[in-house]
């Protein structure tokens, strides 16, 4: 699995040529005062699941829709399947699958009718039964789309992205609005697609989704790619230590916590204190001792490995929340 080094412009990513299904270089897009996408670069390799991870407004959708040929870039180059997406989007459309962030469905058509309609747009298409099975909508096949739940609409919208057996699938926040079970089954589907050789670019603001699914991620905020690489690399590059967390104690300040043995950093986040430490037992022992002196008791104390959430918190000083 290729690991690309971090870098604001991602320029360090080796030029893989044939291996890349998406190449983005110094892409910019502005809306009025908002620099929605601010000179970003990244590559997606054939056969991988690549995640654009970032909070609302980070510029994920804008980036993806430029790649889909639905919006035009201000500056920079975008190549999809080797084709210039800014000028020859029509040549790409037959070969990619698109799921928009907001499901766009004919309200009065049934699930099967919508699938068959979209199948008619492509030279080659998957059987309707396969699609229904893939997103588990068999039981709702004859329901009009306006009668579907949010999660079901989202699943249909994903199925539409798979109609033409695409080489590359764009999924823009595919699991938003789904219940946990539907989310897991969608993850399974995405993993199965990868097994079949399909490349996937997905955006998400769920850390867990990125960690579970993505071979590589790019973390976006305010239109920029802050860092990119494998989840593993992003986490270990920044945190060799583990995280000890507990409900914030009013008597313990951050500077004081950072004085505890082996603690490299302390952060307060939404009522939870997180200590990154190289030695969990030494840190916890000292923490409990200090708390006892103050007559306090840490509640909901726990230990975990550092996650992408921590990476994001560290990069931006903010939590990435749903």
């Amino acid at each position: 699995m290729a690991i690309s080094p971090s870098g604001q412009d991602g320029a360090a990513t080796p030029a893989t040529g044939d291996g890349a299904v998406i190449e983005v270089a110094r892409l910019r897009k502005r809306y009025g005062d908002v620099q929605a996408v601010d000179s970003i670069s990244f590559e997606v390799h054939r056969g991988e699941i690549f995640g654009l991870l970032g909070p609302n407004g980070a510029g994920k959708t804008t980036t993806v829709e430029i790649l889909e040929g639905l919006r035009s870039p201000d500056e920079g180059t975008v190549r999809v399947l080797g084709i210039d997406a800014a000028h020859h989007a029509d040549r790409i459309k037959e070969r990619v699958g698109v799921q928009l962030q907001t499901a766009a469905l004919y309200p009065f058509l049934t699930v099967v009718e919508v699938l068959d309609l979209f199948r008619s747009f492509y030279a080659r298409s998957r059987p309707t039964a396969w699609l229904l099975e893939a997103v588990d909508l068999g039981e709702r096949r004859h329901a009009q789309t306006r009668q579907l739940s949010g999660g079901q609409r989202q699943r249909l919208s994903v199925a539409l992205a798979l109609v033409n057996e695409p080489e590359l699938v764009f999924l823009d926040e595919p699991t938003t609005g789904m219940d946990p079970q539907a989310r897991r089954s969608l993850w399974d589907l995405v993993l199965r697609l990868r097994e079949g050789g399909t490349s996937v670019l997905l955006t998400t603001h769920y850390m867990e989704e990125a960690e579970q699914l993505c071979d590589r991620v790019a973390i976006m905020d305010h239109g920029r790619v802050l860092e990119s690489g494998t989840v593993e690399a992003l986490v270990t590059r920044r945190f060799h230590e583990r995280a000890v967390f507990f409900d914030t104690l009013p008597g313990l300040s951050v500077p004081e916590l950072e004085q505890l043995p082996r603690v490299e950093r302390a952060m307060l986040e939404d009522g939870v204190t997180v200590l990154y430490t190289g030695d969990v037992s030494a840190t916890i022992g000292a923490l409990l001792g200090r708390a006892e002196q103050l007559g306090l008791e840490p509640r909901n104390l726990g230990i975990r490995r550092a996650t992408l959430e921590d990476v994001f918190l560290d990069l931006t000083g903010r939590a990435l929340r749903e």
Binding site: D90, A104, L105
Partner: protein, 373 residues
């Protein structure tokens, strides 16, 4: 091609399943025509006003008048041909019976005995002229039948043998307010106008729901998308035409005089120009509600200022210049001329040219300003 068929099917399904759209485009015009037709064709009284024009002035013509005067169905009003025609065109008369000069002499000759020239059959001098309005079917058949019967019985009394009198039917299309024949083409025009202009609403809704954007991410060509929307509207337009004309004929006895092909061509042309107006609305309206509002602002004045319900001549002269700009004026006028030979507001080629002009202008404007997202 397959995509066009599938997309048109999808559009038809969406249209049929959306009860509100169905109501406004199909039920509404039907209700309209039944309601207005019933009010305006003013049924009930079974006597018909018939102008009596005596150009002969003989005892024979006076006898004829007496004979007709005894028919309870008819109410005779004496007058000159010109005055009677005017009265009929205004709707005061349902028909006119003209006794031409020389009739008395001809009848005298016929009853004079065999061998005289008039006895061989009805000559032009011995022919009653009966004017009726074919679009007022009941009135026109009644008057013609009454005339034939009266004449037949007179023939028998006069000669005892062969008929010396005949009846020549003349048609005269009236601009009668009470005539369904006036209303039917107008309401068809109105329905096509609503069909086309209201087309903006689902179009904007599809854009708002991002359906147009989603389709833009597929290889589907734009022309297929537009083509299928237009195709749907044209199909509905033809259904409307069949419904409205059908009701006009079946319920109100309107006679369709012109060619069905020419009518169909006019329906298509009219639908196209109003569809293109709908596209212009869709180009500028951002939300479905806005589109609906603009459509109402366009369609209501147009409905009342285009002579759909009453002739432009009786419209206040201040408003007439507006009427001469509106495409519905010309569509109604063209349909009226072709369907029921109504008197023209403008010559047919002018009607067609104005409609085509609206179509081309709106096509250009919407092509320039239409947004898919």
């Amino acid at each position: 091609m397959h995509a066009l068929v599938m997309l048109t099917r999808a559009n038809i399904r969406s249209f049929v399943r959306d009860r509100t759209a169905l109501f406004w485009t199909l039920a509404f015009p039907v209700i309209f025509i039944l309601l207005f037709g019933a009010i305006f064709s003013g049924g009930g009284d079974t006597t018909y006003n018939v102008g009596w024009v005596d150009q002969d002035g003989t005892a024979a013509s006076a006898g004829l008048r007496q004979a007709f005067g005894q028919v309870p169905l008819l109410h005779l009003e004496d007058g000159t041909l010109q005055a009677s025609r005017q009265a009929m065109q205004k709707g005061a008369l349902n028909g006119i019976i003209v006794v031409p000069a020389g009739l008395g002499a001809s009848v005298a000759a016929a009853s004079g005995g065999p061998g005289s020239p008039g006895a061989a059959g009805p000559s032009s001098a011995a022919t009653l002229e009966v004017y009726t309005d074919p679009s007022q079917q009941t009135a026109s058949t009644t008057i013609r039948q009454v005339a034939s019967q009266v004449v037949a019985s007179l023939n028998v009394t006069l000669t005892g043998r062969s008929p010396a009198l005949g009846v020549t039917d003349r048609t005269l299309q009236t601009q009668d307010l009470t005539s369904a024949a006036y209303l039917v083409p107008g309401i068809l025009g109105m329905a096509l106008m609503q069909l086309g202009v209201f087309g903006a609403v689902p179009l904007v809704a599809q854009r708002e729901k991002l359906i147009l954007k989603r389709l833009g991410a597929t290889p589907l060509p734009r022309w297929t998308l537009v083509g299928s929307n237009v195709l749907l509207r044209l199909l509905i337009g033809l259904v409307q035409a069949v419904l409205i004309v059908g009701i006009g004929v079946a319920v109100f006895g309107v006679q369709v005089l012109g060619s069905l092909w020419v009518m169909a061509a006019l329906v298509v042309l009219g639908a196209l120009s109003f569809i293109s107006i709908g596209y212009v609305v869709a180009a500028f309206a951002r939300t479905e509600e806005a589109a609906n509002g603009i459509v109402q602002v366009i369609q209501f004045p147009m409905m009342f200022l285009s002579g759909v319900f009453f002739p432009l001549e009786i419209m206040p002269s201040v408003l007439r210049p507006i009427a001469t700009l509106l495409p519905l004026t010309y569509l109604g006028d063209a349909l009226r001329q072709v369907m029921v030979s109504g008197s023209a507001f403008a010559p047919l080629p002018v009607d067609v040219a104005v409609l085509a002009g609206w179509f081309l202008v709106c096509l250009t404007v919407s092509a320039r300003f239409f947004r898919w997202e």
